[in-house]
Assembly symmetry: C2
Homo-oligomer: 135 residues x 2
């Protein structure tokens, strides 16, 4: 098992259009369109950097996993980082052996990019929420 690229950094934001405008206008970034992801309870905007992406996350629906984060962090904040792996089952099993917990039922779900993903428990990873995506 070998960790791959940093696929994206996700930032939860309290105002999606304001955040997109700021990246577009003040930083001159290449900002994509807003995309609703009802299966994940988020609306996302991707910012394309030369080497990776920033994912702006905004709640979609009352059950959005971002609601609680924004209640605790009303100004927003860095929500998670996503590493690419070649084989998500092998990665999961090696991480579980090392003592890291996988969130949810432990099985990969199909993520916002249509690829299998898992999330690791932040308490087992230096307080950082880590997503692994099979590419």
């Amino acid at each position: 098992m070998m960790i791959g690229r940093l696929n994206h950094v996700a930032i939860a934001v309290p105002d999606l259009e304001a955040a997109a405008d700021q990246y577009r206008n003040a930083l001159g970034a290449n900002v994509g369109p807003a995309q609703d992801e009802p299966d994940h309870g988020v609306t996302v905007i991707f910012i394309e950097l030369p080497n990776t992406k920033i994912e702006l996350l905004y709640p979609l629906g009352d059950d959005s996993p971002i609601n609680g984060f924004l209640e605790k962090n009303p100004a927003g904040g860095i929500h998670h980082i996503c590493y690419e792996v070649e084989d998500i089952i092998a990665a999961r099993d090696r991480l579980k052996e090392s003592g890291a917990r996988v969130l949810g039922n432990g099985e990969p779900k199909i993520g916002a990019h249509g690829k299998p993903v898992i999330f690791l428990h932040p308490k087992d990873f230096n307080g950082a929420l880590v997503e692994l995506e099979q590419v």
Copy 2:
């Protein structure tokens, strides 16, 4: 002004060797040596990914800027993200015009990589601490 590459994601950790071992052993990452940066009050370990770096941050000295963060987040957490820019003075001035505050006295300092850096106020950037580094 055009934002460049994501230079690194910095993660503050409560146990530097344990965090390095986890990235090395459980994720199979390419982990560098610990480097003391007394001018910045941190000891850092860089993890080289194919497209960017993870910077593990640990306090060095009683005045370390990481001490307060770890008091609030004892398990650690994602501390900041660093974007590359070509001209840090032009970037700073454009950001100030847009209403974003620069931390400290507003002048670039020489960062951990020997390049000029500034930090932007998290409240002006979706709760995310953003470092700009001139490359």
